[in-house]
């Protein structure tokens, strides 16, 4: 009888998952990340960090009004971010599935800049699994190198963890060779405990080199140093236990170069050197890129350029 109770229903799985991954103290994690913001990154260290951040950008446009033309100019910007030829290209462009073929046409086959697409009824994920899988297959067929999926938050919050994990596994199978990024949508999970648990749930079925990702960018609160830290620590614990290196992508809300450097400091001091590259860490961002370029130019010339040199609006790529 006791055994039945222990094994019965969503509450048992809930308890087991949370017992295994352990709790997170919100006050403590926020104190830890506050220390990253007091690090002072100067001169060559700053320039290295800025350039690294450029190579980690998933340059994103996710709007109802996206057109093939907009996507083409985004691809141009991704390959050639600035008239300073020493600035490297970004990691990827990130577009809706209907735009993948336009991005592929703009970038050409086998391009260095990868194409990521937010499939699985992004951002809510509230369609039938079959529909979501079909969307993934279509995006990969159109030329997507990477798929950014959303987890089923409804199922997660209802305690149906196996369903959440099974759906991730199904999407992974649909991806074929494409890299998978699993969006937890942290602001809907709300607590750090749940973000940690959801990270492990996803990592449990991912391949090395697949990503976990904070947010869609479509809710009020997106990537913060706090939830980034919780996920980095989950990746670290998972790596040390299993030897499988999962990659990380904070997305949404990282607009300034200063913020990006703080996120990189978190990576350096939590996961170490092996994660300081765009195979293991990405920024999902649009307006961040121009601020990185502005700061690189400032380091090069010693002076800030007039604001109209680097537009703040991602619209103008």
């Amino acid at each position: 009888m006791v055994g039945d109770l222990m094994n019965a229903g969503p509450s048992a799985s809930f308890r087991r998952l949370f017992d295994e991954v352990g709790p997170v103290d919100a006050v403590g994690i926020e104190e830890r990340v506050a220390k990253y913001t007091t690090r002072s990154i100067k001169k060559s260290a700053k320039l290295w960090g800025l350039r690294m951040a450029v190579t980690m950008v998933d340059l994103t446009t996710l709007e109802g009004k996206d057109t093939p033309g907009k996507v083409a100019s985004l691809c141009q910007k991704a390959v050639h971010p600035s008239d300073d030829s020493t600035v490297p290209p970004v990691a990827a462009v990130c577009v809706y599935p209907s735009m993948v073929r336009h991005a592929r046409r703009a970038l050409g086959p086998g391009a260095k800049v990868r194409i990521a697409s937010v499939a699985t009824a992004f951002p809510s994920g509230q369609t039938a699994l079959m529909t979501r899988l079909a969307e993934v297959r279509a995006a990969v067929a159109d030329g997507a190198d990477e798929i950014d999926m959303v987890i089923n938050r409804g199922a997660f919050l209802a305690g149906e963890f196996a369903r959440v994990q099974d759906e991730i596994a199904a999407v992974l199978a649909a991806c074929g060779p494409a890299t998978l990024k699993v969006i937890l949508e942290v602001s809907e999970l709300e607590t750090y405990d749940k973000i940690r648990a959801a990270s492990f749930l996803a990592m449990g079925v991912l391949r090395p080199g697949d990503f976990i990702k904070t947010s869609t960018g479509k809710t009020t609160l997106n990537a913060t140093l706090g939830n980034n830290q919780v996920m980095l620590e989950a990746i670290r614990d998972f790596y040390l236990d299993t030897g499988m290196a999962i990659a990380m992508k904070p997305a949404g809300g990282i607009r300034s170069a200063k913020q990006a450097l703080q996120f990189l400091i978190a990576v350096k001091e939590t996961l170490g050197d092996a994660w300081l590259n765009n195979k293991r860490y990405r920024f999902g961002a649009s307006s961040l890129l121009n601020d990185l370029l502005r700061q690189i130019e400032k380091e090069r010339t010693g002076a800030y350029q007039a604001p109209y040199y680097f537009s703040e609006a991602a619209e103008s790529y």
Partner: protein, 502 residues
Amino acid sequence: MASLKTISKLSARRQGRPAPELIFGDLWTYDPAPETADPKLKARYELFINGRFTAPKSGRYFNSINPANERKLAEIAVAGPADVEAAYRAAQKAFDTTWGKMPGAERAKYLFRIARLLQDRAREFAVAETMDGGKPIKESRDFDVPMAAAHFFYHAGWADKLDYVAPGRRIAPLGVVGQVIPWNFPLLMCAWKLAPALAMGNCVVLKPAETTSITALKLAEIIQDADLPPGVVNIVTGAGETGAAVMGHPIPAKVAFTGSTEVGKIIMRSLAGTDKKMTMELGGKAANIIFDDAPLDQAVEGIINGIFFNQGHVCCAGSRLLVHEPVADRVIAKLKQRMKVLRVGDPLDKNTDIGAINSKEQLARITALVKSGVKEGAGLFQPACTLPAKGWYFPPTIFTGVSMSHRIAREEIFGPVLSILTFRTPEEAVEKANNTAYGLSAGVWTDKGSRILKMSTELKAGVVWANTYNKFDPTSPFGGYKESGFGREGGRQGLLDYCRLL
């Protein structure tokens, strides 16, 4: 649910393969980021008596050394018995003629003024504090100086509300008080001692520690600028002899001491039989207790903060880690990982986490105790780090496999050295935590609220932190049990130690 894939199932596949490791190398190194504000040091500091900087009657001076590079910072006057006498006479006169008679609301204005002037000169004071004591600039900038100002602000707020300190009783100031403070938080300890004494209407003779006199004397400049009546605060500098003269003088109605238990006992013996009031804030050997249900990464952060904050020169440092056996290996592994990214070096660099050891003597004491730990068979771990060639430094150190009979588990090391013990039950944790002559502070880490409450009533420590460590606030009383001393500083309770109940 049987299909849920979690770590335990995946890690079982790894059996027999080499353990994965993280690389904390030099792929991205931080460039030096020195704080460059001018500390505005004088070549020579005189005594501060009766509102003026006065040459010592002793005629003697000693050198104040920067522990980060062993260079001389300034000359500091040695106060002899005649100088201490002059300081006490000035304090008595100030109490009788100005400060003791002044309405609280007026005294508050002076205290607010000191607090604001300190804020105005915060960067200058932070740099001076770091150069004089060796602590990292990020700590003096983000903790010592703002917290010192906060103590003056808080007590300024009390000065006109003293009728509410002891409800139903009338109160009066004690008169003149003598205070001796340690070298670990030179400016902050000045504020802890001066602010409540002044708010209550007392006048003060204060002696800073020999190795860290400069910020106290810079605070004297602020006291001058704030136009405090002459003699209300007097600062006399020097070593142990000066301290003995300050503590043993007949004028003070009370003496307050923060420092080692050893010296505290000497003072208590010498004052036995007198009618002087005393408060003592002495040593500690705090237990930081980690239960198996604790948020482990945050607990590791708390352990780091508990023992490596201010190079472990903290009387309430969490120097004994008591960790629940089921999680001991994981906690120690995480701790070692975390220690690899601690940055030891130039205290003035904004990225330095652990600065210089305050003095050569203290470095020798830490080194000797660490040797005893190795000799008694405890397991030593220090992360690879390059220490500067000049100056007094000690790498962050932990000892595993420590038992209650080891010297490193019993004696206060006052350095960046952690002793790790394990326990099986909450009762054993309490027993081990309380099995010490000290009782200043303790930490409890658990996700279970009821356990926090139970532990905090059973631990014999003046402060018990729950799921955090080394948190201070002017509103919160701080002080010890047993041989960690008596009396409280901060809050309403701290004020009660500076008044008479009528």
